[in-house]
């Protein structure tokens, strides 16, 4: 039972993470390969504040604000780059953020990580048991889904898609593509920060090793396999992939196998990305009105 609750909580957190990336990759066509950085910023900000005695509400708000601010600051130089180059710039940012977390030991305790992050307490409610935490994370996931659906269905969301599909045409129609991309990137970063906050207070221990390129790949695969540019795709992807990843972890395997299991699982993830791109680039859930291959 605890295993199922654990699975559901991790799925909910990754659904938030994937939905946030979908705003950028799916709806705006921004190839963000450093999304884990904003997850980490949210996690560390809230963890540090609550460990210093601040209430969870403040940690949460600061986590979202910090992720959004960093997203804004990165997006100004990075969005001057076209597609692929934006991808590498964000990849670089992800690596550098990990370097900062590793090196600024006075703040983050470096590779030692931050243990004992408190379970949240919000409006007098304690989320210190697994069912309670599940309620919190599912609630947050639903809220994320609703807010992002609202944004995407609004005129703003249609403008994002227009920028994605044909930037020049959008510019001719008077839309400032650069500004729309910045806003999309900030929104994505804020919700990635939310996923990070949820993760930190669930795991109660975070270290730089939790925020590697591997996490970015996982969330990218969730979005791409589920179906980028759709509402349900990232959620479907999160259910399928997190179920796969977490259930492998609970198999009772001899220890000499587990050393090989990590890389083997990543190989499968990498291969899935390639296979989906070659044979079904639109993912499991197909975008309505989207052309095949888009």
């Amino acid at each position: 039972m605890d295993l199922l609750l654990h699975l559901a909580i991790v799925i909910a957190i990754y659904a938030v993470f994937a939905l946030s990336l979908n705003v950028e990759i799916g709806y705006t066509g921004l190839f963000n390969f450093g999304h884990v950085a904003f997850f980490a910023i949210g996690a560390y900000t809230s963890a540090l504040l609550t460990l210093a005695g601040a209430p969870f509400g403040l940690g949460l708000a600061a986590g979202l604000a910090a992720a959004g601010l960093c997203g804004y600051l990165l997006s100004i130089p990075a969005l001057k780059l076209q597609g692929d180059y934006f991808g590498i710039a964000t990849l670089g940012f992800g690596e550098i953020l990990r370097m900062v977390v590793n090196n600024e030991v006075w703040l983050t305790k470096g590779p030692m990580g931050l243990p004992g992050i408190p379970r949240p307490e919000l409006f007098g409610l304690h989320f210190d048991t697994l069912p309670a935490y599940l309620a919190l994370s599912v609630g947050m996931a639903l809220a994320t889904f609703a807010v992002l659906a609202f944004i995407v269905l609004s005129p703003f969301g249609r403008a994002l898609k227009a920028v994605r599909d044909d930037e020049t045409a959008a510019e001719i129609l008077g839309k400032n593509a650069f500004r729309f991309k910045i806003k999309s990137f900030v929104i994505g970063s804020v919700f990635a920060g939310l996923a990070g906050v949820l993760w930190a207070h669930y795991a109660t221990f975070i270290s730089p090793g939790d925020f590697t390129l591997t996490e970015t790949i996982l969330v990218l695969l969730i979005v791409v396999m589920g179906g980028k540019g759709t509402f349900h795709g990232p959620v479907v992807g999160a259910v399928v992939l997190i179920f796969f990843q977490e259930s492998v972890r609970f198999l009772r395997l001899p220890p000499e196998w587990t050393r090989l299991l990590g890389p083997l699982q990543q190989m499968v993830f990498g291969l899935l990305l390639v296979v989906f791109m070659v044979f079904r680039p639109e993912g499991i859930v197909r975008e309505k009105g989207g052309r095949r291959g888009d």
Partner: protein, 291 residues
């Protein structure tokens, strides 16, 4: 060691690192020029090149360094071609996001395959450390002399190939305009194949030199991809000589930069340079090539 020779030594080390980055960047920019996309799996060619040498030097082959070089370079060349055949050729007309994600997936697959076979730990070729050369108070080990010699050799070879041979001319034509090259009767398949082989071999040479001078690990690809990218940005994307120059500059900046910032941030310097260039010349890579 007095301070002047300390600075000189640091600059020399920067130049050595820069030679290796230049080899990476030239391969990356070559594929960009010909096929117009950033090969995110280029770092994995660097890493596999180094591991192929490790493979042939260890059991069951046990070849000496010089004998193991040829099969290692040949296999990396094959890996480059295999990447194109299995992933990039089927996606030749796909949109950029699809291509980019496929390259990313390929990179994850290859990186973890290396970790699967050899483990995540940092390794060396286990060669004896030979006495270095010393002059003017500077020291230079045998692998470092090799770095300089091999880089000069590679750059000369690339120059001859690109500007003095028919194959090079067809590759340059492709890089200018793929469709125009095709209807002019250029064998585009052959030129693309050649570009992959050259790109992969340059990556392998650089990876092996780096591993000889320091060590090898499955993670060596990703971090060097970022540096190669920064180098191509400095030189103008698609420009071979720009990549060479950019690589040298990144190497120098990294090593001299450590005089001012903590060594923990050495790998961040290339990224910071990249951001400064983008802010100063925001439209440096909007598609116009300088060559």
């Amino acid at each position: 060691m007095d301070s002047i020779s300390y600075y000189l030594q640091t600059a020399l080390n920067g130049l050595l690192a820069g030679c290796i980055y230049a080899l990476f960047a030239m391969g990356l920019t070559l594929i960009y020029g010909v096929l117009n996309f950033v090969n995110f799996a280029h770092g994995e060619l660097i890493m596999w090149g180094a591991y192929f040498l490790f493979l042939f030097m260890g059991d069951p082959f046990g070849l000496p360094l010089y004998a193991a070089l040829l099969p290692a370079l040949a296999l990396t060349g094959c890996l480059g071609v295999a990447m194109d055949f299995s992933v990039f050729r089927p996606l030749r007309r796909a949109n950029r996001l699809t291509l980019l994600i496929a390259a990313m997936g390929l990179s994850v697959f290859l990186r973890n395959a290396a970790q699967f076979f050899w483990g995540a730990e940092v390794r060396t070729y286990g060669l004896e450390i030979t006495a270095g050369m010393r002059f003017l108070g500077l020291s230079l080990t045998a692998p470092q002399i090799a770095i300089i010699a091999v880089t000069i050799l590679c750059v000369t070879a690339v120059y001859l190939l690109f500007f003095r041979s028919r194959l090079g001319k067809s590759m340059r034509a492709l890089s200018d305009n793929l469709d125009l090259a095709r209807i002019s009767g250029i064998d585009t398949k052959r030129a693309i194949l050649a570009a992959w082989v050259i790109s992969a071999v340059l990556a392998a040479v650089g990876g092996i030199l780096l591993a000889l001078d320091t060590n090898l690990s499955p993670e060596m690809g990703v971090i060097n991809l970022i540096k190669a990218f920064a180098a191509t940005l400095i030189g103008g994307v698609g420009n071979l000589w720009g990549a060479l120059l950019g690589g040298l500059l990144i190497g120098l900046a990294e090593n001299l930069g450590v005089l001012f910032v903590s060594p923990g941030y050495k790998d961040a310097i290339a990224f910071v340079i990249m951001v400064i260039i983008l802010l100063a010349r925001p439209y440096v890579i909007t598609g116009e090539r300088s060559d």
